[in-house]
């Protein structure tokens, strides 16, 4: 049967964990395969890394075993890469995907000698919770226009044409030759892999009714470009698989599938190849692939956009939501670009899903994205076609690579003021000596010291980022990704290094609300009201409030905190973020681009909790820090409208690479048609006031508590973590407890 097979074959679609490779199609054992590749790359020591990487790709793709699951529209797989299973790694937050060539970038990164400046800057940062760093390959979007418009063969041809042009005008450099060779070796290997898939499909052509259609699809993808919706989606699937798990450059969006797939869908309908119901099922099959790959941060897909005629939301957008709803999954994750002209009907459909717990959806403000784009100097043409990427941010389409090597904790500077730059837990001196606090006469003295400590951490982050940035080409050259990027091909330069038009580097400035709350409490209780002196406060903080409970309760219970629409404290958050984002964005990186800022805390609000000592906002060591753009936990006491008013006072154009707002709503507050209208009203207001990303949970504490005790009754319960969602019952208990606590606090405000 061609259709209505999704549910009955669903289990068999999860073939990554237990693959059944075509007999004699290649090496099935991942370790054996990696050993073979390693033997080759070890023998090539001294050669350019781009060539070694390309040869490794070639060796992998020529020797891997292949598999076609004839029951699955997207049933293609090859050996070498594999997700962790729940049996192997029970903790969801630690599950990873094995990538056969990752040993190369690990080795190449280890080989590079760290300059003293890097060593000094990095020392103590991670252990103290002042920040987190690492060389990042997770933030790029291939130019899907090129991939879809040219196909694999066409991408190779374009690269070879660019090489030929340079040869003919006598400008081809040695570096460019290496670059083009890398693409040639890699893409020829990809085409050979496609030949093998095609032959295998033909061999199994009578096994299932789907196979002739799959064979035709593979033929087109091998030699040409997609002609149908199915072929288009198959190309995105295969390209993603190869770039993400072979090139090890994460594909941060599968693309604008509704908009780019619409012409194919219409043609399919007209020519009788597909019905609306078939299209829903096709997307269910596609989504299932990403569900089964199990990337814990999930694979993004973005919806919408606009042109001169208005919104680009179309029938396929609705079909894709229907498929998502039917499947009840959290991967891929959905990203909806919102303009004033985005239809209410579509937004309400998504909001209604969220209200029912299908909450792996974020709404992103496209008008704001355009404002940011112009501020960053992108052209009008680029500004109109922004890509929705990653968890919740925008990038220019096909012209941008933005690694994210470094997160800075904005709260840490508060602690360092009291200790003159030394982290109390580790004893490491990580900040600057801002002097004896007993000599701080005014609040301004304190704030100046905080700014100095945070600037010190940001300066260290620049040095750390520069180190990684300057070695990207040595660590992980990216021939597969590069071939998709037109500017990279034209320039003959690696796209993940400096080959594209916008080679920016992201720095995260996280947990602003906890920092603003702490500053406010110092200002109010130490300097304005003179309730306590600064030295007593220091003693209390260093003793983790032991013996100072009343002081702590005063600080914790004070409502003058970020998130309550109170200008005194909100203005501190605004001023601090303006200051630090200006500092970061004024700095050039080493790849010919700029630093840009993301305001997310992701899950570091959780992971830094134990590393950050007590702070003047009433936190004890171990208590959570504020998450993303939202208030610190329990500190927003005047309801969601006040919280949104506070959040949108911040100039989100400074936090150009993302600053999502996380809401939590009680189901009773948004029940019925009125409730859905109210959710839409919140979303529209948030966008109108210049908010960036809108994501969250509608849940009550009772249900979460019951799910913790009786997981078997709540298998489908989803919770939004940060830029992604998980199934509640699969999460570790400490994560679950955090969600229960947040829901309890929301209920207390009802």
């Amino acid at each position: 049967m061609l259709w209505n097979t999704f549910d009955e074959t669903r289990e068999s679609q999860n073939f990554y964990l237990h693959p059944e490779f075509e007999p004699n199609s290649g090496i099935t054992d991942n370790n054996e395969l990696v050993e073979k590749i390693k033997a080759l790359t070890d023998s090539m020591r001294g050669q350019p890394h781009t060539i070694i990487k390309a040869k490794a790709i070639e060796c992998l793709l020529d020797n891997c075993a292949i598999e076609i699951n004839v029951l699955d529209w997207f049933g293609l797989n090859f050996s070498g890469w594999q997700p962790n299973s729940a049996e192997d790694v029970p903790e969801l937050s630690r599950r990873a995907i094995f990538k056969p060539l990752s040993y190369l970038n690990r080795e190449w990164l280890a080989e590079i000698q760290r300059p003293q400046e890097f060593i000094d800057s990095a020392k103590g940062i991670a252990a103290s919770g002042a920040g987190i760093f690492g060389c990042d390959y997770d933030h790029s979007v291939p130019d899907w226009d090129s991939v879809i418009g040219l196909g694999f063969a066409g991408l190779l041809e374009r690269s070879e044409r660019a090489r030929a042009e340079k040869i003919s005008d006598g400008t081809l450099t040695d570096e460019q030759k290496i670059y083009y060779d890398g693409i040639k070796i890699s893409y020829e290997a990809i085409l050979r892999l496609l030949d093998r898939f095609l032959a295998c499909a033909k061999k199994h052509i009578d096994d299932n009714e789907k196979m002739p259609i799959m064979a035709e699809c593979l033929e087109n993808i091998r030699y040409s470009t997609p002609k149908t919706l199915y072929q288009y989606l198959m190309l995105t699937y295969l390209y993603h698989l190869i770039q993400q798990y072979v090139d090890i450059i994460q594909v941060r969006t599968l693309g604008n599938l509704d908009v780019d797939g619409y012409a194919f869908y219409k043609k399919d309908l007209e020519e009788g190849r597909l019905t609306r119901e078939n299209a829903v099922e096709l997307f269910q099959f596609l989504y299932e692939k990403y569900t089964n790959q199990g990337h814990i941060h999930a694979q993004p897909i973005y919806f919408g956009g606009f042109d001169d005629n208005g919104t680009l939301i179309n029938e396929l957008s609705y079909i894709m939501l229907d498929a998502y709803d039917k499947s009840c999954i959290v991967n891929p994750k959905l990203f909806i670009k919102v303009m004033p002209g985005t239809p209410d009907e579509f937004l309400k459909k998504a909001l209604e899903m969220i209200r029912r717990g299908r909450n792996c959806i974020v709404f992103i403000n496209e008008e704001l994205g355009m404002k940011i784009s112009r501020k960053l100097g992108r052209t009008e043409e680029e500004t109109k076609r922004l890509v929705g990427t990653g968890c919740n941010n925008f990038a220019s389409r096909g012209k941008e690579t933005t690694p994210e090597h470094m997160y800075v904790n904005l709260l840490k500077g508060i602690e360092l003021v009291f200790t003159r730059g030394t982290d109390p837990a580790t004893g490491e001196f990580i900040g600057v000596d801002t002097g004896d606090i007993s000599e701080f006469r005014t609040y301004e003295d304190f704030e100046r010291a905080y700014v100095a400590q945070t600037e010190c951490l940001i300066n260290k982050a620049f040095i750390i980022s520069d180190f990684y940035d300057s070695h990207l080409l040595d660590i992980n050259p990216a021939p597969i990704y590069s071939a998709s990027m037109p500017d990279s091909v034209k320039n003959g330069k690696d796209a993940y290094y400096n080959g594209v038009k916008y080679n920016n580097t992201v720095m995260f400035l996280s947990c602003h609300a906890s920092a603003a709350d702490s500053l406010m409490m110092v200002k109010k209780h130490v300097y304005d009201n003179k309730d306590f002196d600064l030295c007593t406060l220091r003693d209390a903080l260093l003793d983790d409030w032991e013996g100072y409970e009343e002081m702590r309760m005063t600080m914790l219970g004070d409502e003058e905190k970020f998130g309550n629409d109170i200008d005194t404290v909100d203005s501190i958050a605004v001023r601090m973020l303006d200051h630090f984002t200006t500092m970061v964005t004024s700095r050039k990186n080493v790849r010919g681009g700029h630093f840009v800022v993301n305001g997310e805390s992701i899950w570091f609000s959780h992971r830094w909790a134990d590393k950050c000592g007590a702070t003047p906002d009433g936190r004890k060591r171990g208590d959570l820090l504020s998450k993303n753009m939202s208030a610190a936990i329990g500190q927003d006491r005047h309801g969601i409208t006040s919280l949104i008013n506070s959040v949108t006072k911040i100039d989100a154009t400074g936090l150009a690479y993302g600053c999502p707002f996380d809401y939590i709503l009680h189901p009773s507050a948004v029940k019925g048609e009125d409730g859905l209208d109210a959710m839409l009203g919140l979303l529209r207001t948030f966008m109108k006031r210049g908010g960036y990303g809108f994501q969250g949970n509608v849940q009550d504490a009772n249900m979460l508590r019951d799910a913790q005790v009786h997981p078997e009754n709540h298998k489908n319960l989803q919770v939004r973590i940060s830029g992604w969602s998980w199934f509640f019952t699969q999460m570790e208990k400490n994560f679950q407890d955090e969600f229960i606590r947040r829901a309890e606090l929301e209920e207390a405000n009802l």
């Binding site: 008013n645 109210a678 839409l680 109108k688």
Partner: protein, 297 residues
């Protein structure tokens, strides 16, 4: 002008259309057995004490000059209401918000400024705006008039949530500035009404017809309380059928979430024990729908 309120709730979704802010005025002429806002009934200030959440930190003891709060020899906080002067200082220092002060004199402009903070939300949601509720807000008719007048000057959609047990003169003050009345209808049968609320309903029914005759939009709110007014569905439907400006009927299922509040206020808990089943509510809605009325989901 000053009025007496006990709360301002932002993001009120079920007090009229769109996203609203509801201003709760203190004092009510009825005593509905199921009242879920017991703090709204009295005209005077009240102090709520959630004893089970108290950590006996002692902040209130230090703030209280009349000795109403003490810590006993076991370290437990004791609140002696007979000594309380209702000054409210203890509630302002209570770190866990275990003590809550209900009742506040507020200026019109103070309330307007608070309500206007959410103006963007009203504009971006369907007919969002401001609702005056209570208690019975029209027990303070001049204050309501002044507030509503100011809200209209700010182009806000206005709603008045009333039990209808008020004078016609009070209604006349607010009618020109009210876009929508949220009108509580508990029973048509006079005896049932008296038993449930302590008052006869003749004035209420008369006022409803009066507002309707002026062409004002009215949303009816019928609290459905099994064993008390659940036999009133058809009678309510019959009455409403004869009116011209009923935009919608909302059947509000009774719940007993307020029992902690009664305890915290040291008030006699009059809450009925039987909660309506979903099917009962759906049945009531469908009866009203079948009578040609627009019934909310």
């Amino acid at each position: 002008m000053r009025g007496f309120i006990f709360d301002i709730k932002h993001f009120a979704v079920h007090d009229g259309p769109g996203i609203r802010t509801t201003v709760f005025l203190k004092g009510c002429p009825l005593k509905c057995l199921w009242c879920h806002n017991p703090e709204s009934i009295g005209k005077q200030s009240q102090l709520g004490f959630l004893e089970h959440k108290c950590t006996s930190c002692g902040s209130c003891v230090r703030a209280c000059s009349s000795g109403a709060h003490t810590i006993d020899s076991d370290g437990k906080h004791i609140f002696d209401r007979s000594k309380c002067t209702l000054c409210g200082k203890c509630a302002t220092v209570c770190p866990g918000k275990v003590l809550t002060y209900y009742g506040k004199e507020a200026e019109v402009e103070e309330i307007v400024a608070d309500v206007l903070k959410d103006k963007d939300f009203y504009v971006c949601s369907k007919n969002g705006g401001v609702t005056l509720s209570g208690g019975e807000c029209l027990m303070q008719p001049d204050f309501c008039e002044a507030l509503l007048k100011r809200f209209k000057e700010e182009n806000l959609h206005t709603a008045v949530d009333t039990c209808g047990f008020v004078s016609k003169a009070a209604l006349d003050k607010v009618i020109p500035y009210t876009d929508l009345f949220l009108y509580d209808l508990k029973a048509i049968d006079s005896d049932v009404h008296k038993r449930c609320t302590g008052q006869d309903n003749a004035v209420i029914l008369e006022n409803l017809k009066y507002i309707d005759s002026l062409g004002k939009s009215i949303e009816i709110r019928y609290p459905y309380v099994p064993g008390f007014n659940d036999g009133e569905v058809r009678k309510i439907g019959e009455l409403l059928k004869g009116l011209s400006n009923i935009t919608r009927v909302k059947v509000l299922p009774y719940h007993n979430y307020a029992s902690t509040k009664y305890k915290s206020l040291d008030m006699v808990d009059t809450l009925p024990t039987v909660i309506p089943a979903d099917a009962e509510i759906e049945e009531a809605k469908s009866v009203l729908r079948d009578m040609g009325l627009c019934v909310a989901d």
